[in-house]
């Protein structure tokens, strides 16, 4: 066999193994969510259920007030609101800041950039108690706005990093041409840089949304009722309460995973193009 053919077969086998490793746990969760409870706990486990049971989805979609379903649906809405709010604020603030890092020369530029990136090293636990007191005095405990406020502090450094890296890859001449035509710097940012940086922007939006959707510790400490509780908190609560009903936890988990999974699948080609590495380093 030719070496190239042998290599190609090897690569395909390896890719198949990786794909199976990625899919198996998810498939089990999908199966569990529609397997009748009795079948799910029989030993030995029957992998393919003889009957499908959609009752968990009905519970989640239809459950009345004070039920698992009501909590889940409220949490879903809260997660959406917090995620979208965080994305909007951190993108506006991040685009302006990233432009400054990518294009302007100013004193302490490197120090300021490192300070922003350095906030990533702080564990959330080190900020929880004072933030609790701040949110409490501002009346923002247990509100969506309060979560957007604290989530932005986690997301903005990432947005700054992705975008300033990306802006630096855009040739400066493009912008200079526009400025010779009389556009201001901000005008050039909006009409020249932003359209040219679309892959970076899409990647930043995706990362920002996924980070906010995934955030757990702030939501755990700063929310307690359906008014602002997000999906991760709701899921961890009902995974704790319904320990024996893995099917219900699976159904809820799958629904909670749906928005980020859909976003990641649609925009996956921007993930890599958004991460131009090596240009910003500490």
């Amino acid at each position: 066999m030719r070496r190239a053919t042998r290599n190609s077969i090897l690569i395909h086998v390896a890719a198949f193994v990786v794909a199976v490793c990625c899919l198996l746990p998810i498939s089990y969760m999908v199966l569990a969510s529609v397997t009748p409870q009795r079948t799910l706990i029989t030993i030995p486990l029957r992998w393919i259920p003889s009957a499908l049971d959609f009752s968990r989805y009905v519970t989640i979609f239809r459950g009345g007030a004070d039920s698992v379903g009501a909590t889940f649906r409220a949490a879903f809405v809260n997660s959406l609101v917090v995620g979208i709010g965080t994305v909007i604020i951190s993108m506006i603030v991040g685009i302006l800041g990233a432009y400054a890092f990518a294009r302007l020369r100013f004193r302490f530029r490197r120090v300021v950039l490192l300070l922003f990136l350095g906030t990533y090293m702080l564990p959330q636990i080190a900020l929880l108690i004072p933030l609790y007191l701040i949110l409490n005095s501002l009346g923002l405990l247990n509100t969506q706005a309060g979560l957007v406020f604290v989530d932005c502090s986690l997301v903005i450094p990432f947005v700054l990093w992705i975008l300033s890296n990306y802006f630096m890859t855009i040739p400066e001449e493009l912008e200079e041409a526009a400025r010779i035509d009389g556009t201001t710097r901000l005008g050039a940012l909006f009409y020249v840089i932003l359209p040219a940086a679309r892959p970076g922007i899409v990647a930043a939006i995706m990362f920002a949304f996924l980070l906010a959707w995934d955030e757990f510790m702030y939501a755990l400490i700063f929310t307690s009722t359906n008014a602002a509780k997000t999906l991760p908190v709701a899921i961890s609560e009902f995974a704790g309460r319904y320990t024996t009903d893995f099917g219900l936890v699976s159904a809820g988990g799958l629904l909670a995973a749906l928005p980020p999974v859909i976003i990641a699948i649609i925009f996956q080609r921007y993930i890599v193009s958004g991460m131009s590495t090596g240009s910003v380093k500490g």
Partner: protein
């Protein structure tokens, strides 16, 4: 690679205000200030003041959220923490978690990145599948693996017994060491795709002429890996290494959702330990001291890294 580009501030001394025309730099500086102000307020307002306050709290004895009598104890909380054997256990456990998960993610991430970059039939399908674990929220991932590891009905027990690998069901999350490794596997499963995409970004930046040249020289893939791919990937690998180490050292959510630190504290990482001290025991002074110790350890780790990486960077130039 372009560390120099970050040093824009070096050239030229600040111009004196008495000069008739202000320099270009000065104008850019002012614009930069206004552009960065919103980000600065949003990030540092939620970080700098709280961290200062946490340092302060760590010097007092605060035994409940509503305590009014909070005596100053100086470094007493730190002494208490450092004398607590459970602190040292949680520190070693966290280091184990960090080293093992980061190492696995890097090695597996490199392999997956190579596959993503290779000539594959159905490449788009492979990419889509690899993206999935990364997109699944951490808490959902934790709940899923908790189900897989379940001692009675879990898929792992079922699969392993049906394949004849084990003969009786095991409580994977029932013993400290096996629980810690089980959590690591769940974490690696979710995070490897992100590492892979990160490294892929570095891989695609390698000019294809280099591979061509190597092919003409009839170099095999081990040789290509050693002399082209790995050296040129050093910047990407080092960023991933720093990011993943810091993240792993702070790990909390997956622990909370999968094991709540159990069994017998077997998976209580240092961040989880700090959380318990502060919020379950309502000992905010000690909890804050622990949090500050985490910050210090992370600082030490990243300093070591940066020093080491800068040296390895030099060898590249």
């Amino acid at each position: 690679m372009t560390v120099a580009s970050l040093n824009g501030s070096k050239e030229g001394a600040p111009e004196k205000r008495s000069l008739p025309r202000r320099g270009k730099r000065d104008r850019q500086g002012r614009l930069a200030f206004w552009l960065l102000l919103p980000a600065g307020v949003a990030v540092f307002g939620v970080v700098l003041y709280p961290i200062a306050r946490t340092i302060l709290v760590s010097l007092f004895q605060v035994n409940s959220a509503l305590a009014t009598d909070t005596p100053f104890v100086g470094l007493g909380n730190y002494v208490e923490v450092l004398q607590d054997p459970e602190f040292w256990n949680s520190l070693w456990r966290t280091l184990y978690f960090t080293v093992v998960s980061t190492a696995l993610e890097l090695v597996l991430g490199l392999i997956v990145a190579g596959l993503l970059n290779a000539k594959l039939r159905w490449r788009w399908l492979f990419r889509t599948i690899v993206v999935l674990p990364w997109a699944i929220p951490t808490i959902v991932n934790a709940a899923m693996w908790k189900g897989i590891y379940n001692a009675q009905y879990g898929a792992l027990n079922a699969a392993l017994t049906q394949l004849g690998v084990i003969h009786e069901y095991k409580a994977w999350l029932g013993e400290p060491m096996s629980a810690l490794n089980a959590v690591i596997i769940a974490d690696v499963w979710k995070t490897t795709p992100l590492v892979a995409f990160f490294l892929l970004a570095g891989l695609t930046a390698i000019p294809s002429e280099l591979y061509e040249a190597a092919r003409i020289d009839r170099a095999g893939w081990p040789r290509m890996l050693r002399s082209i791919v790995l050296p040129l990937l050093v910047p990407s690998i080092s960023i991933v290494l720093v990011l993943r180490t810091v993240e792993a050292f702070k790990v909390f959510d997956i622990i909370y959702a999968m094991t709540r630190g159990g069994p017998i504290n077997g998976t209580a990482t240092i961040a989880y330990f700090a959380y318990i001290r502060a919020f379950s025991d309502q000992n905010f002074g000690v909890g804050s001291a622990l949090a500050i110790i985490i910050v210090l350890v992370i600082l030490v780790l990243t300093t070591i890294y940066l020093r080491f990486l800068r040296r390895s960077d030099m060898s590249l130039l």
